[in-house]
């Protein structure tokens, strides 16, 4: 038990993302209102984006741009690149795309919700299912 608490605290960011992700998952599964489900989906995606940004971060590191790599006055001096000093940009780049995609998905989902509302005059899922069964 005494080992467990430092373990949880040491990786607290991941626990936050998992909690967020499960909140989104819960909303998607358990909520009755379609807009609430869409909001849950967005929370889920945001949790994943935060997770990636977090694993891309590095303490004491900077953005991966080499200073004075070109046109240096002391051209003969060779630079050794310390990997630990630079952040790997790959997770952040991937998340840039994921943010764009999540906005597009949100737009499609909201357009569909409008379509459902126009057809059934309600956004509550159980009422919609009753209407479908009634027809």
């Amino acid at each position: 038990m005494s080992d467990l608490i430092p373990f949880i605290i040491a990786k607290y960011n991941y626990w936050i993302f998992i909690t967020l992700m499960m909140i989104g998952m819960y909303a998607m599964i358990a909520k009755n209102n379609l807009v609430k489900k869409i909001v849950g989906m967005n929370i889920f995606q945001t949790a994943i984006i935060l997770f990636y940004v977090s694993i891309g971060a590095k303490k004491g590191a900077t953005i991966p741009i080499l200073e004075h790599a070109h046109g240096d006055a002391h051209g003969a001096v060779s630079h050794t690149v310390e990997v630990a000093h630079y952040i790997n940009p790959l997770p952040h780049v991937l998340m840039l795309t994921a943010i764009v995609v999540s906005v597009a998905t949100l737009g499609v989902a909201l357009a569909l919700a409008i379509n459902v509302y126009n057809r059934h005059k309600t956004l509550e899922e159980d009422e919609i299912i009753d209407q479908i069964k009634g027809i």
């Binding site: 889920f44 991937l94 995609v101 569909l112 479908i132």
Partner: protein
């Protein structure tokens, strides 16, 4: 020309999807011929690519001449070549065969339908042809979002069913991009 088949396969349907959505505003009768022309070019280049693959075993195409760690590479081997031919030719045949029923069912939304259809085929072809995990994720999203759009054009229960599919698909794609990151990391 023949060395650019992998790029033509994706670029031509992608750009013609834009053209079709413009044609939907101007003259609806132009939509179908543009779609057929785009998929014909795609089918022609996929067959040509299959013959090249039979000669060279693996075709590697670097977009813009940038090599893989920085640029996007398209790579096609035997299986990819065959699947490309199947996808593009079946999409073309399906497009021609369903012309009349599409005109009956979506008479006012015909531009939107053909735009989504061509974009969907673009996504599928891109998924098969690409050799880059990051690119794969983007094309997967193109294919799935246009898939939601196509399903939502149906009758009665279609919007609600599409919404359910969208929740599932989004969760799946979220894990898909995790896989693509690990592919990138260990490739």
């Amino acid at each position: 020309m023949s060395q650019h088949y992998p790029a033509l396969l994706v670029i031509v349907p992608l750009l013609s999807a834009l053209l079709i959505s413009a044609a939907g505003w101007l003259n609806k009768r132009l939509c179908f011929p543009i779609a057929v022309a785009a998929l014909s070019v795609a089918s022609f280049s996929s067959v040509g690519l299959l013959f090249r693959v039979l000669d060279e075993k693996v075709v590697l195409y670097k977009l813009g001449g940038w090599s893989p760690p920085w640029g996007i590479a398209y790579s096609v081997d035997y299986l990819n070549g065959l699947v490309l031919v199947v996808v593009s030719v079946v999409a073309l045949l399906n497009l021609i065969a369903t012309q009349r029923s599409v005109e009956q069912e979506f008479s006012e939304k015909i531009g939107a339908f053909y735009t989504l259809y061509i974009l969907f085929v673009t996504g599928l072809l891109g998924i098969v042809v690409t050799g880059d995990a990051f690119n794969l994720y983007v094309l997967l999203e193109i294919a799935s979002l246009t898939g939601y759009g196509l399903i939502a054009m149906g009758e009665d229960r279609a919007p609600l069913a599409t919404l359910n599919y969208l929740y599932m698909g989004t969760i799946g794609a979220s894990f898909g991009d995790r896989v693509s990151l690990y592919c990138n990391r260990f490739a």
